[in-house]
Every structure is written in C-alpha cells, then in structure tokens.
Amino acid sequence: MRSDPEKTLVEIEGATFGYGRKRILTGVNLRIVRGDFVGLVGPNGVGKTTLVRAILGTLRPMDGRLEYGGGVRPRFGYVPQRGHLDVLYPLTTLDVVLMARLGRGALRRFDAEDRARAGEALEHVGLTDRANTLYRDLSGGLKQRTLIARAIASEPEALVLDEPTEGLDLLSGHAVLKLVQDLQTRHALTVILVSHALDEVAATVRSLILIESDGRMEVGPREEVLTEDHLSRLYGVPIRVGEALGRFVVTPASTEREP
C-alpha cells in the first residue's frame, strides 16, 4: 500500500463496482483516513449505496484494488436507511441493539458483557428509558438513534450512516447529526455519512466524496470539493456556494427549475 497503512482506513485504486455484469461505478480512486469525518454526496441513483457496500467490504471490486489499512478489514458500525427496516417485527429497542453483538458469533447466547455494551450504547444515544419499547412504536428520530446505538454496540472503528436524516423534521435531523458528531469526537471514530442533502453534509463533515451524475468523483477536503464549479457540474445548473451563520450554504444561482 502506498499510503501510510496506520493512518488509512480504506484505499481504493482504479476499481469498478457493480452487480452481475452491470457496472455501476468505474475508475474509483479514493482514500479515507482514520478519524476523518467524510460525507458521501450525490444525486439519487448515482451509486452511493454501491460505494458504501464496497467500503464495507460486502461488494468486491470487479477490477482494480481495494485494501484496508494494515491489511485487516476494520470493524464497521453500519446504520442502514431506516425505511428499509420492516416495522412488522415485534422487536424492542434493546432487541435491535443486541443484534450488533451477533457479529461475534451468530449462535452465541447474550452474556453480561453483551448486555452491558448494549446498555452503554443506549445510554450514549439517550434511549436508556426506551430499552423495552417496541422499535416500531418509536418516532423516526428515535428509530434513527436506536440504529446508531446498534452500530455503537458493535464497538466499531468506523461508523457508516446511510441517509440518517431522511424523512426527519428539521430539529430531529439536527439532533441526529449532533449526536453523530459527539460520538465521533468521544470515540475517535471514522465516520462516513451518506446523504443526498448536500447542505446538511457540508455543515457537518471535514472531507467530501462527491459522486457526479456521470459517475465521476471529486474527493478531498470539504473546502476543495465544495466549489461552485464542481457543484454546477454535478447538478447541471449554476450553483452558488457561500457561508452564513458560520456554515456552508449551497444554493442554485437561479431558483427557476424545470418541473
């Protein structure tokens, strides 16, 4: 590996990813360093989930190279899209969080340590008093916290969150992002935040992976990637980038848009 393996979480070089014979992303080059807070942004259907699966190691490259720092796949805490989970299941919040411990052996009986880690994770996200509430009875924001608690309970080195604020109201969305920021700082985690909502990602992360609609990628520190040129190309309309209230603001140069 060319980069410092101690600092690298994952490095991808000239890789193609897809399903069956269908290629979704080609010529992927990126490196994620440990401890970074990375935003993965792009329009719907552009291949964000494919890249996430590649980083998680659940989708192998069709060609090219993907290597983890030190040659060992890190422990990932994954937070899937909330809407993908069926609320028909009669599972409590604690049941859902304990699932994380099955990564250590699918047939294991939960022991005191498993319960302690799950309890700590629920405490981190402020859900201790909801441990026995059915997951399906929680609000969207609390469901999201449960899934984050589950990811934390797996004692991860890196946290990957897929559209964590999708469908949440303004305050709940902000609370979830604040929670992720706190966890990143407290546990020195690498965080990869996937979203199509550029505004919220820009305000939260340090680095960006910007996937353009033609599959091209811009990768680097937020300030370098978040330029009017890149974003105008991404969305196909002129985009303006500025700062307000100490945060990045991204807005179309013209509000006119074809329906």
């Binding site: 399903y19 069956g20 014979r21 269908k22 998680l56 190691g57 659940t58 990932f76 994954y78 899937p80 993908h84 989970l85 069926d86 028909l88 299941y89 009669p90 599972l91 409590t92 049941d95 859902v96 699932m99 994380a100 099955l102 990564g103 699918a106 047939l107 059915l134 589950r150 797996s154 990957v160």
Partner: protein, 277 residues
C-alpha cells in the same frame, strides 16, 4: 353449556376413536411446526413463496403418482429446488420476484393437474393433493411429522437470533460478518422441508392456512417475538382440534373444516383487536 362436563365429554368423544387419535396427533404436530416456521413466512412477507413451494411439493407428489417413485422424496426434491431457484435469483434479474413466484405457482399447479390426469385415479389423487385427508393419517405419518417437529423446533430454538437478524436487516448482518446467505438458505430450506413433508398428510390447503393464519393471530395478539410464537402455536393447535371436531360432528371434510375454524379464529381476533384499538 360447553362448560358442562358431560356435554364437553360428548364433544370430545370422537378423540377416543383410534383414527381420530392418529389424526389429532398428526394434525397437532403439523400445526406446531407450521405455526413456528410460519412466523418467519409472515414477517418476511414471503407468503406467496410458501404457496409456490406448497404447489411445487404437490407437483412432486403428483410426479411420484405418475412415475411410481417415492412421493415424499420427490416433494422434498422439488421444494428444495424451488428454494434455490426462488430465494437466490440474481439481484439484476429482469423478472420481478413476485412474477417468478407467480410463474412457478401456476406452472406447478398446472403440472400437478396434468400429471394426475394421466393416472387411473386422477380425480381422487388431485383431491388428495388439494385437501389431503388427515383422517387417513397413519402411525408412520405421525412419526414422520413428529420427527420433523422435533427437528424444526430444535433448529429454531437454536437459530432464532440469526434467523431474525438476517430477516430483519440483512445488510447490517452482512456488514457484521454474519453469513446471511447461509442462514437464509437454512431458513428457507426448513420451510421447504416442512411443506414437503406435511403436505401429503394434510394437503396444500391446510398446510398453507397453518403457515399463515396462526402467525397472523400471533402478530395481532403477541407483543414480543416469544409471545408471537406462543400464540401462533396455540391458534394452530386450536384450529386442528376445533376443525377435526367440526368435521366429525357436522360430517364435513376435515381439511376445509380446519381452515374454516382457523378463519373464524382470525376473524374473532381481528374484531377483538379492533375493539381494543
């Protein structure tokens, strides 16, 4: 009054008859095994997969009648082949999952009819496939279904956590290194084996009803997963006992009587739940 001991004894009297005792044992074992595995069928929203596998198993039995081979063996073979075909289709397939199930279901159904049509006892065998006849269950059937019951219940007691995890959130399970394909395969194969082995005792109709109705009652009445399984088993048993008694006292075919009894139970449960909502 049903609570009157003498009247209750009269109602339950048919179970003193040897053939009713055997039917009760076979039916109860089938009810328990279907009620347990049916919870996954309903939670995974694969009810139509259950129907397609049941029809494939029936086609296996019909093939056995036609060519004179072991009917249960062929039913298992086709059910497992169906599991492989239906549960592991490529993600990029252009045939939608429910479309593929529809094809398998209708072709297997047609094949069953066509195969038994060539047989001298065609109509009788077709009726047997659809309705089964629990009243003709043998001690061998009871042993077979009881063995299956022990195996399936044992498997599910041991593997309930990974089965639920890979069903609820396969993507996260895969990320954590849980072998989702293996567990899904094991779950679906146990479903296929259950259907194939019970269908020749009680018929497609009863197996399908026992896979769906008791678990739905469980989900309506049970708050957590253990109570869902418990209610499901109890409703399955009640359906078999009630259906057999209805069949005996009203001189009705046993399979449809069991399904009708189960239908009445789910109707009452639904009304009660609506009343409490």
């Amino acid at each position: 009054m049903i609570g009157h001991p003498q009247m209750l004894a009269e109602i339950l009297a048919p179970f003193q008859l040897p053939f009713m005792k055997t039917a009760l044992a076979a039916g109860c074992a089938t009810a328990v095994v279907c009620a347990v595995i049916g919870v996954y069928v309903v939670l995974n929203r694969i009810v139509f997969l259950g129907a397609a596998l049941a029809q494939l198993s029936a086609a296996g039995i019909a093939l056995g009648f036609l060519v004179g081979l072991h009917t249960t063996g062929l039913a298992i073979l086709l059910a497992v082949a169906g599991v492989l075909l239906l549960s592991f289709r490529p993600a990029t397939s252009r045939i939608p999952a429910d479309g593929l199930l529809g094809i398998v279901f209708s072709v297997a159904w047609a094949a069953s009819i066509l195969m038994v049509a060539r047989s001298a006892q065609g109509a009788e065998e077709l009726n047997f496939l659809l309705q089964g006849n629990i009243l003709t269950a043998s001690h061998g059937d009871v042993r077979l279904v009881s063995g299956l019951l022990a195996a399936i219940v044992g498997l599910h007691l041991l593997c309930v956590k990974p089965f639920v995890f890979v069903s609820f959130d396969p993507e996260t399970a895969r990320t954590l290194g849980v072998r989702t394909r293996l567990w899904t395969m094991l779950l679906y194969t146990s479903l296929g084996a259950t259907i194939a082995l019970t269908i020749h005792v009680v018929g497609i109709l009863v197996v399908f009803a026992l896979l769906v109705i008791p678990p739905i009652c469980g989900l309506l009445l049970g708050r957590r997963l253990p109570s869902v399984f418990l209610v499901s088993v109890m409703v399955g048993l009640a359906g078999v006992v009630g259906g057999l008694l209805l069949s005996f006292h009203a001189d009705l075919p046993s399979g449809p009587a069991i399904v009708a009894f189960l239908g009445a139970i789910v109707g009452i449960v639904r009304v009660l739940k609506r009343g409490n909502a």
